[in-house]
Each structure stands twice: as structure tokens, then as C-alpha cells.
Amino acid sequence: MAVTDTTETTARKPRAPWLTLRRREAIEGWLFVSPTLIGFLIFFLGPLIAVVFYSLTEWNLLSQKSTYVGLANYTDALRDNPDFWHVIRNSVIFAAGLVPLNMALALGLAVALCRPGKGVVFFRTVFFAPVITSAVAWAIVWKFLLQGEAGAVNQMLAGIGIDGPNWLREPNWAMFAVIVTRVIKMVGLNMILYIAALQAVPRDYEEAARLEGANSWQIFRMVTWPLLAPTTLIIMVITTIGSFKVFDHIYLMTGGGPENGTLVLAYYIYEQAFEFFNIGYAAALAIIMFVIVLALTVVQLLLRQKGSS
């Protein structure tokens, strides 16, 4: 009854202004986000939808003709083209090598550098420096350092009696080299994320464990490491996705070679799209990449839920 009463009273009064405070706030809110939202729709969501359509066509830029071919590009990739599985294999090897190495090193450095002290700032600065350096510069310099006999790395190895391989010319060593140099480039970022997490671990817990007679390793294993789990998971997601996106590093260090030994998915997409102009096929590859990244994220988020419950 009360509800109808109020409506009647407002109806009898002169009309309430349309622009209520709430409406005003909503309009202003949308105005504030609109530049970002419009740009995002045009340059991000639109292209994302477009790429799905591209992937259903046979479209070679040279012939200037696009015809609908259904899922042919996908079956081409997944069934007919042996290159595709080779590329996926390379990407998986790259990620499987990079992620654990990166995370272990990051955690080790963070543990060594999480307490204030002399030299800590110096070492943090050193380990983080490659992160702010352009990937192009980093790849160019390492390409020189890893040259066959004359390269600095092999000259140093020769100094301690090791005959180093021609790093970037042998497929397995090339993969090893791009992984390690990429880890050195990016590990600083995960290091600072781990340092922030370690500093947030309450000292009391560790103290309590110490009073119980636990040694440093036991404290780390039983107290610190479990508390780091959320950070570890986030780092794992970011690093894995990052490893599937790596392009410039490989483009400049090996060009995908030797014998396609370092041809990874992001590079393969670039090559198909902008060197061979197989637009439809490249679009299908892009969608596959999108699905892989999405699946990785979902799996890792599910793992977190399972871990926390």
C-alpha cells in the first residue's frame, strides 16, 4: 500500500526532473569510461571477432581473393600440416624450460635479497636491469656473445677448458640458448614479485617455528613456501602466458632456426601472416593461440581454487 501511496503523491506533484542524481552519475560514469571503451571496442574486441571470421576463409593476400572454407584452416593446422605440431612442440619445450628455470631462479634471488642489508639494493638493481632493457637490444648482444668460436661465451668456456658448441647453429643448443637468455632478461620481474610476497610473510610465524626447533630449510618448506602459494600461482600464469607470446627475442636471435628448431607459435603466426600472407591460416593459428592461453589461465586458476579449499 505504501508503495502505491508514494507514486500517487509524486504523480500529483509537478513532474520530477528526469535527470536525477543517480541518472546523472550513471551518465557521467559512462562518459568517463567511454574513450577507453570505444577505443577498446574498435582496436581490440572488433579485431578479436574479425580474426574468427578470417580464420574461416581461404585468403591469400597476393591473390586478393577470400573464399569461405569452413574449418579447413583448422584441419590444415591440426591434421595436415606437420609444421604446426613441430611449432607446438617447440613452444611447449620453450615454456617447459623457461617457466621452472625462471621461477626457481626468481625465488632463490628473492630469498637472498628480501631482507634489507648492505648490497641488497645493488644486487636487486643488477638483476632487474635487463627487464627494462629493450628485448631487441638484449637479443642483439646475446647473439654476438653466443657466436661459434669467436663469441665471448665460448672464449670464456675455453678459458676453463670447455669446448662450447656453436650455440645458435645447432637446434637443441639454440633452444637452450634462447631459453636461458630469456630467463636472464625477465627473471628480475618475478624476483621483485617474490620479494614483495616474502616481505608480507609475518615474522611471527617464522619465529614461532624457530622456537619449536625448526632449521632454516624446514621453516622455508613448512611455513614460508605455503604462504607464497598465491604469488607462485600468479607468477606461474603470467610467466607461462609470456613464454607463449615470445616473439622479438627469437626473431632476432635465431629467426626461428636452425632447421626451425626454435620456431615457436608467435613467430609462426607472424611468418604465415606477414611473410607468406596466408591470412586465413594465420588467423586460425591466432585463434588456436588464444585458446591455448585461455586454457592455461583457466587450468591454473582452477588449481588455485582446489588448493585453497
Binding site: T36, F40, F43, R124, V131
Partner: protein, 282 residues
Amino acid sequence: MALTRCQTSIVTRICWALSLSVVAVPFVFPFLWMISSGFKSATEIFGQLSLIPDTWRWGNYIEVFTYQPFARQYFNSIYIACAVTGITLILSSLAGYALARMRFAGAGLLMLFLVSALMVPEEVTILPNFFLMKWLGVMDTHVPLILLPVFGPHGVMATFLMRQYFVSLPKELEEAGKMDGLSRLGIWWKIALPMSRPALAAVAIITFLFSWNLFLEPLVFVSSLSNFTLPLALSNFTDPYGAPLWHLQLAATSLAVVPILIVYLIAQRQIIESFAMSGVKG
């Protein structure tokens, strides 16, 4: 003989410093080698390993500028990075402020929508963007190099960073501003922005570096030498037969890296914190 407590702690500290120094070698050596090789001749670079050049060839640094329009390319990188940073700061703080402070229908959905964007690699959307830019007639200009970073996942990340920061601020000052008759825009500009300098600085730093180091987009969208940005220019020091001109490439790389490195050494604390705040790869 057992060491005293004080001695063991000195021994641990020495072990700590020594092992970290060993690990630091592959992080530091490339920079030192790059700078020193920029002063060498092409043959000396692959001679006996040494960080001190036989003769300091300053001429390399002049040749860099005559070989390709390197000054122009350098300027391109600077102004594009500034433009991307400026636009990102304004748009991300506007949108971030609305998402943090204003209640409007669809805000939650919008957030979710933007979060999902963080998961899409640029490699996926660059192909349609290529045709979009072609259709807009802006191929081989700097327009794509400014628009795509602003409106890509990086821009979304900046928006979130700003939103998180605005959420953490106390509301009282803004409400006082409202009492004084400031408009929404006025509150954002005169009260919220000045209070969020740390977040703005973080966004500015990571955005500038993101644009400065961008490679795939220039590679795809830019084709003439005078429109190149630095990363593209660095990869382009080859003689007419495609063989790399090592000494020039390394001199140019030093010129591109060292200024950033100097700024980094001065402001390392602020820069590292900015990346910690974003928590996302640059």
C-alpha cells in the same frame, strides 16, 4: 676449531656476496660488452675477448647517424613514447576513476569484460588491426604505434592499476570538493589526480618503457627508414648484402640502451616499485 658466532656471520655474508656476484655475471656482462664493443672495429669485436678496446673508435658513433636517419628514428621513439604515455595517463585515470568511484549500471560487467582482455595476446589481434589501419590509410605512419598500445591490453592494465589506487584513497576530500560545488571532472582533476601521484608515476614509467621497447607493431606497420623506431632501427644495421655491421649495430644499441639505463640507475627504486605495482610483464 669452531668459529665464533660473529665469525660465522661474516663467513655467511661473504658466501652470500660471492655467490650473488657469480650469478650477476650474465646480467651485467652483456651491458659492459655492448658498450665496449661499440667503440671497436668489426674485426676486433670477434678477436681476443677484452672489455677495453685497442683504440677507442668514436667514429662508430658518427657513422651510426650517417648510415641511416638514426637521429630521426631516435626522435620518433621519444615522441611516440611520450604520446602513448600522455594519452594512457589521461584515459586510464578517467576510466579508472569512474570504475572506482561512480556507480553506474553495467560497471561490473565492464570490469569483467576488461579483465578478459588482459588474457588476449597482441599477436592474436594484430592481423585484423593490420587491415583496419590499411583501410584507415595510416600504414607506414606512427598512428598505429600510438593507438594500439593505448587501447590494447597494456591500456587495460593501466586502467586497473589506476582503479585499484583510487579505491584505496579516502573519500572525504572528494566529498568536500562536491560540497564546494566542484563538478565530477573538477573533482577528478583537482582532488583525485593530485592524490594519486604514485600510481600515475607507475603508469607513466611502465607505459613509456612499454612503448619504447615495442617491436612487433613497428615491424608490421612501419616500412620506411625515416619512420622507424629505435628497436626496428637497431635490427637494421646490415650492409647492402644483408651481412650485419656489428660495430655500428652495437654502437647504436648502446646509444639506445645507455640513457634508459642511466635513468634507471638514478630512479631504480621508483622504477622497480612501478613494475611491482603492475605485476604484469612489460
